[in-house]
């Protein structure tokens, strides 16, 4: 039986994103696209944070291909008021 070579990588990546002090992000989704290829998606607070995430993931998982879809959360004034 052929085993996946990338088992547990999603969990390891999720924990690095949270526990590596340079990142400390809990809101990023890790998904496996195909063998040794992963995607990170979500929103972060600044472009610097996105850079750091890409750098740390490349450093910790040099053998994996990672596709990034990380947006920077907008900070405009609201146009609408909701009545509750």
């Amino acid at each position: 039986m052929k085993t996946r070579t990338d088992v547990y990588k999603e969990s390891q990546m999720q924990r690095v994103l949270t526990e590596d002090e340079r990142v400390s992000e809990q809101g990023i989704r890790v998904s496996r696209l195909e063998e040794n290829t992963f995607a990170l998606s979500g929103e972060v607070a600044s472009s610097k944070r996105r850079e750091v995430i890409e750098q740390v993931v490349a450093e910790k998982f040099p053998d994996l291909t990672v596709e990034y879809d990380l947006g920077i959360t907008r900070v405009h004034e609201p146009d609408e008021v909701e009545e509750v």
């Binding site: 809101g27 979500g42 509750v84």
Partner: protein, 254 residues
């Protein structure tokens, strides 16, 4: 605080601005400020629903104070799990309070909003899960401590909510009191995102609104089982500097 209402301000209501999970560090410093300068035209109070910092350090708390203090409206915050990461939650609370931000933890505050007394009770909250899928105070000490932490916070939040002497009540937490505003998050992590124990105490008092954060991939709108409106204001959920909720209220008869 009470000042002259602007001419286009609707009568007999309070306007509550809220955002959570701003995760301020030196790289985020300054991003929110432009949208906050005129907040007094849009809202009467600003609520910060926890995860104010990235790593929970005093330095980051000073960045939060720079970003959110000295606005034209009162600012009321609870801390989130990130704000506890460096065991500096007391220092963070002190830095924020010194800057004029009110920090609630199982406590409440009342403001006069143009004659309507707006009461806010707040606490960090904690996890444990929701109806039929929740942890119990059973087994290992770690498991008992986990759920006991949530239960204690919930009970004391309930007391703080109940004790508010006001016309309009709001519950402010970091963790969620209902699963409805978690929609979009993986089901498997719901027990880490909130607890029915928070919802239960909210439903006992029935505030006009319950505001929380923490669930970055959740949904803005939901209700508790008892019908209280809940809003998840995590910044990646609302995708703007803050959301504004208008709540009808009548000043108590003199």
């Amino acid at each position: 605080m009470s000042s002259a209402p602007s001419s286009d301000r609707p009568a007999n209501c309070v306007r509550v601005a809220a955002v959570g999970d701003v995760h301020i560090d030196e790289n985020v410093l300054g991003r929110f400020r432009p949208a906050l300068e005129r907040i007094g035209e849009k809202a009467d109070v600003l609520l910060l629903a926890g995860d104010l910092t990235r790593h929970g350090t005093g330095d980051e708390a000073r960045c939060v104070a720079t970003e959110f203090a000295d606005l034209s409206v009162p600012v009321v915050a609870v801390l989130g799990n990130h704000d506890y990461h460096s065991d500096a939650q007391d220092e963070i609370t002190k830095i924020l309070e010194d800057s004029g931000i009110t920090v609630l933890e199982r406590s409440g505050v009342v403001f006069d909003c143009f004659g309507i007394r707006l009461g806010i009770a707040g606490a960090k909250g904690f996890g444990g899960g929701f109806a039929g899928r929740c942890g119990s105070e059973f087994g290992e000490p770690e498991m008992k401590a986990f759920i006991r932490h949530t239960r204690t916070i919930a009970e004391e939040l309930g007391t703080a909510l109940h004790d508010l002497d006001c016309d309009v009540r709001i519950a402010l937490t970091h963790y969620a009191p209902t699963p409805e505003t978690l929609l979009g998050e993986p089901l498997e992590i719901y027990p880490f995102l909130g607890s029915y124990l928070l919802g239960e105490v909210v439903d006992e008092v029935c505030p006009a609104l319950a505001v929380h954060g923490h669930a970055h991939a959740g949904t803005e709108r939901g209700v508790t089982p008892g019908g209280v409106h809940v809003r998840n204001v995590a910044h990646p959920v609302i995708k703007q500097a803050y959301s504004v909720y208008q709540i009808a209220g009548q000043p108590a008869a003199a």
